[in-house]
Symmetry: C2
Subunit: 214 residues, 2 copies
């Protein structure tokens, strides 16, 4: 498969982990979001929304990371990224969406650009914006993990989409200098996840093009 | 079932449509987001993220609208809200996520509050912010619908989660005074959807508590 992505993209990170967990070989094509390459006309043909990732499987063009994760789980069932039981599947998805829907989209390049250009926010202002919403997400995760502690993964013995999303949220915290250690259960889960090579090798800062430090 | 929601909430709107399409009876409990009721300690016990909707089915507490829609489709399969074939399911979900992940979370009360309080934006500024991202979503939908015209629904003959999301996006356009008529294919799909009683009766402006005009 072909994955249009970018080293820094948290949505690409989630998909990269899933592909590795499923053992699906892929080639990643970099679309430099910081240089605005997602707005080029040749990428418009790939993804009219001008975002990454886009996953290409033959003639099939898949976009939106959550839709890609669900598709991968349906077409490559082993190992599953969702539990079997409906209530558990819903909880795994809801945990994932705390960041995929309610946090990460607030911090992406097109939003940071709008904050800087339309609202004249300086770099410190943009960083404070991102840090605020990342911290809100961390507070939510911490409360949910207090109610139901990870054991050892978010849903229990099986890695699910919730864990992929947590790893992405943590990488986002790094970008905006939010210390995840202030959120004990979240931080402990993150340590567990980052011990898995599929998570560690997929991390934004380990990709070609990434700077040596965040 | 019990649905904690709010007349104005687009995420509640999506779930309301799904419950009606599935023929699942429900009582809606209003959490007044504009008055900050979502931050009350009794709602914190229901939804630690302090957002609506939350769907209660016996002992099961479900949150995040996309996770609720998937759960409803798994536990109440008829009529299905997703196609059968994996590529089509992915396309339906991706269309839904254009607004559920990439637009709607940018316009919710907690973000508008942050724009007003932390960034000192006045009402006009907050409205311009919302209108910008709603219009971005409409542009994406219009391009996708040019590539694959709705016939008559987004995915074809069957109503899917994509249609629920489109209806929510359109209601959001109303809040921010963005004219959907400028997006022809989107507007035509919306007309088709609003002719269905499950969509029309679930519309925010038809709920108890809604003002007479938007």
């Amino acid at each position: 498969m072909k994955l249009y992505g970018f080293w820094r993209s948290l949505a690409t990170y989630r998909v990269r982990i899933a592909l590795r967990l499923k053992g699906v070989p892929f080639d990643e094509i970099s679309v430099d979001l910081l240089a605005g390459e997602q707005l080029n006309s040749d990428y418009d043909a790939v993804n009219p929304q001008h975002v990454v990732p886009t996953l290409i499987d033959g003639e099939t063009r898949l976009f939106q990371s959550m839709a890609i994760l669900e598709w991968l789980d349906e077409t490559h069932p082993e190992p599953p990224l969702l539990p079997r039981q409906a209530n558990e599947r819903a909880y795994a998805r809801a945990l994932a969406l705390v960041t995929i829907a309610d946090t990460h989209p607030l911090t992406v390049p097109r939003v940071r650009k709008h904050l800087a250009e339309a609202l004249s926010l300086d770099n410190a202002g943009v960083e404070a914006w991102g840090a605020h919403f990342i911290a809100e997400g961390l507070k939510t995760y911490e409360k949910l993990f207090e109610q139901r502690p990870p054991a050892p993964y978010a849903l229990g013995s099986q890695v699910t989409v919730a864990d992929l999303a947590v790893a992405g949220h943590a990488a986002g915290a790094g970008y905006f200098h939010v210390n995840v250690k202030d959120y004990q259960r979240f931080a402990a889960l993150l340590d567990t996840l980052m011990a898995l090579p599929e998570f560690a090798d997929s991390h934004p800062l380990r990709q070609p093009g990434a700077p040596k430090a965040a």
